[in-house]
């Protein structure tokens, strides 16, 4: 009998449980701990991906919320522009604009000759455009004063064109005749 066999024979009651314990430990390590380790790594990666997905969803929601907010804000501002800044309708547009231009011309020392308003619907828009050619006669500094008054007025009057000619009327020495293409806008009845 060899020495190893004799040692095994004499200490079998210790060696056998010890070998079984060691085998179970190693088997547990190989068959349970390491696969579980891989599984945990996968689960943690999945959790990380879910966190990235959550961050993306939050960003997506923030963008959608910002778009909704900016739409609401633009809607409100546009509504304020349509109702508070622009005249209510064609009648108001012509009345207030003509009155204002007449008063401004008089205050600037210009003679208000004529104006006639007409209107058309602006294409692809909720707005209509009321327009007129206004003829004024007077000195150049007064014309500049009048233009400055229009620029700084609270009324929404757009000067689209300025045409200047020497006045040909009697007693018109040094006077200029100015034709102003003026326009204002109002919400079309169908655009509300």
């Amino acid at each position: 009998m060899s020495l190893w066999a004799r040692v095994y024979e004499e200490r079998r009651r210790v060696i056998v449980p010890l070998v079984i314990l060691a085998a179970i430990s190693v088997a547990t390590l190989l068959l349970a701990v390491w696969p579980l380790q891989r599984s945990v790594t996968n689960s943690e990666n999945a959790a990380l991906e879910a966190m990235v997905g959550l961050a993306n969803a939050r960003r997506f929601e923030r963008q959608a919320r910002e778009a909704a907010d900016s739409k609401r804000r633009a809607d409100t501002e546009l509504q304020a522009f349509y109702t508070d800044v622009l005249p209510r309708d064609f009648a108001t547009a012509t009345k207030t604009t003509t009155q204002w231009l007449q008063v401004a011309a008089r205050e600037a020392g210009l003679e208000f000759k004529a104006s006639h308003f007409d209107w058309d619907v602006v294409r692809d828009s909720r707005l209509s455009r009321a327009f007129s050619t206004v003829t004024l006669v007077g000195k150049y500094p007064n014309i500049r004063r009048f233009l400055y008054a229009v620029e700084t007025a609270s009324e929404f009057i757009v000067i689209e064109k300025v045409s200047v000619a020497e006045s040909t009327g009697q007693g018109s020495g040094g006077n200029l005749e100015v034709s102003l293409g003026v326009a204002t806008y109002f919400l079309s009845p169908s655009g509300q």
Partner: protein, 199 residues
Amino acid sequence: MLKGNLSTRPFYNERLVTMALAAIAIAAVLLTGYDVRRLIELSGRRSSALAKAEANEREAARIRGQAQALQQAVDRPTLTRLANYTREANTLIEQRTFSWTGVFGHLEKTLPVDVRLVSISPTVVKGTTRLSLGIILRDLNDVSAFIDNLNATGAFYDVGPTEQRQQEDGSFAARIEASYRSERPAPAAAVPSDREKQQ
């Protein structure tokens, strides 16, 4: 002399064997302990990770649902229409705030003596103000001089003639187009210039 061990059960180093077995036993116990501890720890981590992933996925799905509902409220055609209305309003406001006195201030300084301005009309295209200037003049060389003067102000650019024709009285009618860096109305715009003082 013969040497040999005639014993049927010779002695061996029992302490060494005992120590080896004890070492193996300690290693096996330690390994078992390590296994148990790792199993508990990894199980906990896996449960936690799975729960976290599930919670995050649920939350992400909820948030995506909310975002989609918001997006449906702001559909693309509505947004495009709104953008067009806003652009239109901004263009109108730009036209409204156009400084005529500012332009006249520049023209007073740049118009050659024998050139008469007969019309000005601005148009705003994509935020750029284009001016169309109609002038009457006796000498066509004054067109170049006027263009040079306009360019020199720094307020006008892309300046060029678009039309020149002789009139019955021998004078020329010309049209000049220029881009203009619009200014806000100057408070002291009514101050007369040299040209005004001459009139």
